[in-house]
């Protein structure tokens, strides 16, 4: 899918990073530069959560968002304006984190010529099932010290 996105056409910043910054700024954390590109070595995830949407079309692909479960929980709290001691229900967690993938995916879709339909988002604590073709592009992000990874995969 990323081959269909000419990333070199975007002078300066990676468009996926720009999309992520807009999503975080508008929906999660309005503080300027709260979300930045991750620099340096990335730690492995110990308790990951995955959220993804798939794009159809001539070059099917997947937009996959990965972060620690604790980070996804913090994202859910921000989206729902929950206090630090309020319980995050699993249904809200899946809804909120999935919606972030949905918004990211919809914006990535806008970069792709002749895209197909966008699937509804899915959330899981294991990698998505099924075959993938290749990792096309990856952006590693730092949200107040927490790692988030947005990966674009091509699908068969």
């Amino acid at each position: 899918m990323s081959a269909a996105i000419d990333l070199t056409a975007f002078t300066g910043q990676d468009p996926i990073l720009t999309i992520a910054e807009e999503v975080f700024s508008a929906m999660i954390d309005p503080e300027p530069e709260a979300l930045r590109e991750w620099f340096g070595e990335t730690p492995g995830f110990t308790d990951p959560t995955y959220a993804w949407v798939d794009l159809g079309g001539e070059m099917p692909g997947r937009v996959l968002l990965t972060t620690e479960r604790t980070t996804a929980t913090r994202i859910t709290r921000s989206l729902l304006c929950l206090g630090p001691d309020e319980v995050v229900e699993n249904a809200d967690f899946v809804d909120a984190f999935g919606e972030i993938a949905n918004v990211l995916g919809g914006n990535v879709k806008s970069l792709v010529p002749d895209p197909g339909a966008l699937t509804l988002p899915k959330v899981a604590h294991t990698m998505p099932d099924g075959p993938v073709r290749a990792l096309m592009h990856e952006v590693r992000l730092d949200w107040r010290g927490d790692l988030l990874v947005i990966a674009l995969w091509s699908l068969p």
Binding site: A26, L79, D95, E99, G106, N107
Partner: protein, 119 residues
């Protein structure tokens, strides 16, 4: 003003409603969790405006718009969707949507988009 907000994400419905309030719209708001539910509610409620997501289970936003039109309902509908490409905007416009607001959005975007239709 009575408004129907349709989105399969409860979180996003809450964000839309919160943003409408932030934009200064003190409207009476009803929620629907998918396009089919929104169509049934619209038939009962006859809202002044429908704000709908595009991609929903049971019935998509564009199907909801066409369903309302087929039922003879002249209710304005604006899309609030993650898919804001020019192609989607053209499709929405051709189908008779009032506007398309792309996610992520701000209260300012809501005001700039919606205010002209309220004037």
């Amino acid at each position: 003003m009575r408004v129907l907000v349709a989105d399969d994400s409860r979180v996003m419905r809450q964000i839309v409603i919160r943003t409408l309030r932030q934009a200064g719209y003190d409207w009476e708001i009803t929620e629907a969790a998918d396009g089919a539910a929104a169509l049934e509610i619209a038939k009962e409620m006859d809202p002044d405006l429908v704000l709908s997501d595009w991609n929903m289970p049971e019935m998509t936003g564009i199907e909801l718009l066409r369903g309302m039109q087929a039922a003879g309902m002249d209710i304005p509908l604006g899309f609030v969707t993650s898919e804001g490409s020019s192609e989607m905007r053209e499709t929405a416009d051709a189908a008779g949507a009032l506007f398309l607001i792309a996610k992520p959005f701000t209260a300012e975007v809501f005001r700039d988009t919606i205010d002209p239709f309220l004037a």
